[in-house]
């Protein structure tokens, strides 16, 4: 009985967190007079960059996944594992890495300009696209790779014994596979990029490269025009909801797909041309994904030792936010590991954090200074955003535990507490550790709502890094980025590891 009450409380609080801010935004948006040219521009840019980002990510992922599926090489497992890393990589860290490669005085310009090539400009649409591909190419590749590895080995054996050539392989196996997976991968990435904020904030900007989310932020921070922010939020909400529903129909996101490093024996694609092509894709992708990260480590190594006190304070804020948000997210997730709970949690994908932030801002403003609550709001919103992923990880396992041990527990008459303490938590330890690690790392690296609310006294580490970048203190920013990277990875590692001990 008590368990049911807890589930209802968890469900209502999540639903309230969705409905309350949305209503606040709806009410406030009414005072807005009309959609100006800049707003149309933002809407257009949001759609265009999301379309292009999704298209490019999927396009590049197809040959890369094919190469990874049919080649064995040293470091393959590592590269495949690395494809999961962007999920927990803080955006601001990746942006600094990309700037170090593609930026004004980045690697590429330093190599190319002596050769007389024109200066490479990263800020604008191209920068947003590079960053989005950096984050989503791995995701798309994992989706395709999963598809490739799901092709039964018999099909390849049959193809080999029939002596099927590349064209026949394409028609019999590859094309049907792409047709099945590509729409979903495209839709998921499109939805993710629709709500892109941190990338647009750091690499976009200017009226020509402003997403809706960025426009929301600007109207709050610079003009303090809450009516306009709310109206933009409404458009963003409608857009994300529509796209989210479409994506839900065509796709499933593998959060914790296991066994991607498995290898199915293959006989096709052994020609010289095919080998060369696969090799080129693998090397290019590895360079594209690894060099920026290497640059973060390289550039940050000297800066991390000279970080000012305010950076450490912001790091402490971030740690507190990450831990708080992890606790809250798991407290929500445990009672919601049911079918309807997972549906409820999906609202965390559809609702953009900034819209949520605006709504909460409007709600708390009559009572208190919202800026004082910045860190609490950030932790809450982060927990909410992670909830769908956490539920996707926990629900199947929790249901299996109920199926396996529910009768024994019922026969013994275990109380809800005893069931939780002695059965559910210990048996759920591994996925719980993994989910907690994801939540903590996501929250640690989040640069979203906090930018909306924060004053200098309550910055988180990602925001602090952004402020340092804005002040052109690049060495400090690079040091901060390395610190953030280390903290995010350590948090993930510690929780994930904690779940494995003795399990």
């Amino acid at each position: 009985m008590a368990a049911r009450v807890v589930a209802i409380i968890a469900g209502l609080s999540v639903a309230g967190l969705v409905i309350g801010p949305v209503i606040a935004v709806l009410l406030r948006a009414e005072t807005f007079s009309g959609f100006g040219p800049a707003d149309w521009q933002a809407l257009r840019f949001t759609l265009v960059q999301a379309l292009l980002s999704a298209a490019l990510s999927v396009l590049f992922a197809i040959p890369l996944a094919r190469a990874l599926a049919r080649r064995r090489f040293v470091g393959r497992g590592l590269l495949v594992a690395l494809l999961g890393a962007p999920f927990i990589l803080p955006v601001i860290v990746a942006v600094l890495g990309l700037l170090a490669v593609f930026g004004q005085s980045g690697l590429l310009n330093r190599v190319l300009s002596p050769l007389g090539a024109p200066q490479l400009q990263i800020y604008g649409l191209q920068g947003v696209l590079v960053a989005h591909v950096f984050f989503n190419l791995p995701l798309a590749t994992r989706l395709f790779l999963q598809g490739w590895l799901a092709v039964p080995g018999e099909q390849f054996r049959l193809a080999a014994s029939l002596g099927m050539g590349p064209r026949a392989m394409w028609r019999a196996i590859e094309w049907p596979l792409l047709k099945r997976i590509a729409p979903g991968a495209f839709a998921v990435i499109f939805v993710i990029c629709l709500s892109s904020f941190a990338v647009a904030l750091t690499l976009g900007g200017g009226p020509r490269a402003t997403t809706l989310e960025l426009a929301i932020y600007q109207s709050v921070r610079f003009d303090f025009d809450l009516g306009r922010a709310a109206a933009l939020g409404l458009v963003q909400l409608a857009l994300a909801l529509a796209a989210g529903l479409v994506a839900l129909r065509v796709a499933s996101v593998p959060v914790a797909a296991r066994g991607l490093d498995r290898m199915v024996p293959r006989w096709d694609g052994q020609g010289k041309g095919a080998r060369m092509l696969d090799g080129v894709w693998i090397v290019v992708a590895a360079v594209f994904l690894l060099i920026p990260l290497a640059m973060v480590v390289l550039n940050g190594a000297s800066g991390i030792l000279t970080l000012g006190g305010s950076v450490w304070v912001s790091a402490a804020h971030s740690l507190a936010v990450a831990l708080g948000s992890t606790v809250l997210c798991l407290a929500w997730a445990l009672p919601l590991t049911t079918r309807w709970g997972e549906w409820l949690g999906l609202s965390g994908i559809a609702l953009s954090p900034l819209v949520l932030g605006i709504g909460l801002f409007l709600i708390v403003r009559p009572f208190t200074n919202p800026f004082e609550l910045a860190l609490y709001v950030t932790a809450t919103v982060n927990a909410f955003v992670s909830l769908p992923f956490v539920l996707r990880i926990l629900r199947p396992e929790a249901e299996a535990i109920r199926a396996d041990y529910g009768r024994l527990g019922g026969a013994l008459g275990l109380s809800d507490w005893a069931w939780l303490r002695w059965v559910l938590l210990p048996r759920l330890k591994r996925p719980l550790g993994f989910a907690a690690g994801l939540t903590a790392a996501l929250s640690m690296g989040d640069l979203g709502v906090i930018a909306l609310f924060a004053d200098p006294d309550r910055a988180t580490l990602p925001l602090k890094i952004y402020q340092l970048m804005g002040a052109y203190r690049m060495e400090q920013a690079a040091g901060g980025a390395l610190l953030l990277l280390l903290l995010s990875l350590s948090l993930f590692w510690a929780f994930d590891r904690g779940g494995r001990v003795g399990a």
């Binding site: 041990y405 026969a411 013994l412 008459g413 275990l414 005893a418 210990p426």
Partner: protein, 231 residues
């Protein structure tokens, strides 16, 4: 007396009907083809399946609306009788104190005593994975002892053991049942188990539960359908 009074129970599209009584202290085998409704019958008695109509009575008290743990019934399941991640001591502590799962004063001694009675003295700190299948079955039997309930249901709990071990376990259950004056229902599809363990047998066919009959007579001169099943 354990009575099933005009029971009709549904599980999916399957319907089970039962109307019989068993004397307290009796040992009864439940025999029938797979899918005939043997396990469904146990579910109704244990409280995992609520009947559409009819009543389950124990010594004239109506159990029909009671949760499984509130019934005077303990169960040995086909599998999963112990939580694999907990020690035997903790498993048995959960049977003694299902609200908290903690060990109270004197519990350790009671647990050790129950383990000794099933020949597992000193096994308290082990986990199920560190024990053989037979030892796990005996630990589950120790759980039944500690639960101390007058009716014991066994849903083919020893099916995974070898023939000799199974016989040993049945004898041990019989010994415990005699000592504690338990009423026992044993689901099996081995007629030898029924002969060895139970003086009465219930035949279940296509969802219809018969009335208890002397095992010996039933198996020596089986009705047509049972003859087909026994081969």
């Amino acid at each position: 007396m354990l009575e099933l009074d005009a029971i009709e129970a549904r599980s999916g599209s399957f319907t089970l009907t039962a109307d019989f009584g068993i004397e307290a202290g009796a040992r009864v085998a439940i025999i029938g083809a797979s899918g005939s409704g043997k396990s469904t019958l146990l579910d109704v008695i244990a409280g995992f399946l609520k009947p559409r109509s009819g009543h389950v009575l124990w010594k004239d008290a109506d159990l029909t609306d009671l949760a499984p743990a509130r019934r005077p019934v303990s169960v040995l399941f086909q599998d999963t009788n112990l939580f694999p991640h907990l020690t035997i001591e903790r498993n048995l502590a959960l049977a003694l104190n299902p609200r908290s799962g903690t060990l109270r004063k004197g519990d350790a001694a009671r647990i050790e005593d129950a383990l000794a009675r099933v020949g597992l003295a000193g096994f308290a700190p082990r986990r199920p994975s560190e024990m053989s299948g037979g030892q796990q079955s005996r630990a589950a039997l120790a759980r039944v002892l500690l639960q101390d309930r007058p009716v014991l249901l066994l849903d083919e709990p020893f099916a995974a053991l070898g023939p000799a071990l199974k016989v040993d376990m049945l004898d041990m259950v019989a010994k415990v049942a005699d000592a504690e004056a338990l009423t026992v229902l044993l689901v099996t599809h081995d007629p030898a188990d029924a002969r060895r363990f139970a003086d009465q047998t219930l035949l279940v066919e296509n969802g219809i539960v018969g009335t208890p009959q002397p095992t010996q007579a039933l198996l020596d001169d089986p009705p047509e359908s049972l003859r087909t099943y026994l081969g």
